[in-house]
Amino acid sequence: MKILIVDDSRAMRTIVKRHVAQAGFDSAEILEAENGRDALETIRASTPDVVLSDWNMPEMTGIELLEALRAEGVTVPLGFVTSESSPDFKERAFDAGAAFMITKPFGAEDFSRCLAPFM
């Protein structure tokens, strides 16, 4: 099982990794990317099983990443881990094909609930 964590903040990638392990997925292989463009290349090369992506990032945002993946026909489940919690962002995310949204601040139980269907 491979999980790609996409966030421009190394601190947040570290926290997400810790929460994923605490949620019981400590045997998963964790891949990391710093922005959407970096993630797109990683997904093409490494085919992760699930992507956990921030929304606001330089180079390419999380929603642009999701739209680019779907335009290429890549169906990897992508969930957002973001501080953007407004209803309009949620609607845009799910319309684009997001699998779930985890809002910061979060707990390990959020990852347990959202990742379980893909494990």
Partner: protein, 161 residues
Amino acid sequence: MHVHVTEPDLADIVEGATSTMLGTVLGALAPSGEAPSEASAACAVGASVQFTGEWSGALVIGCDEMIGNEAAAAMFGCDTNNVAADDLSDALGELANMIAGNVKPLLPGAITLSLPTVVQGSELRLGIPGAAPTVGVTYRRGSCVFSVEIYERSQGPRKQS
């Protein structure tokens, strides 16, 4: 449109974000009742996120080096003595982003968040040019300080059509 975020609203968001993501690091801090501008002379790190759209302003957080290092260490899972300057900036920027994201739904209209900007120095005078502070919270533990403040930009007079 004026911001209607109250001090208790902001305190709830700040305390929720810090307690969930940083554990007990900021739990030992107590509200001081000071305006953040009064405490900013003690700040060595400042981070801001801009709000743009139907309402315009910014969220600014500030803290001294000790609290900044404790927050970064909690995020990275390392010792407070082993926090690099880049990691301190990363951690405080992410904290500002998280708090701003949770403030955003309380602001009027469609709003976009900027990426965070972080400054480090000593006796920082934190502020946003062309914007006025509207609501803020300050926490202290001895000489250590952590503050969060929301600024509102003047929209200027509306043209009559």
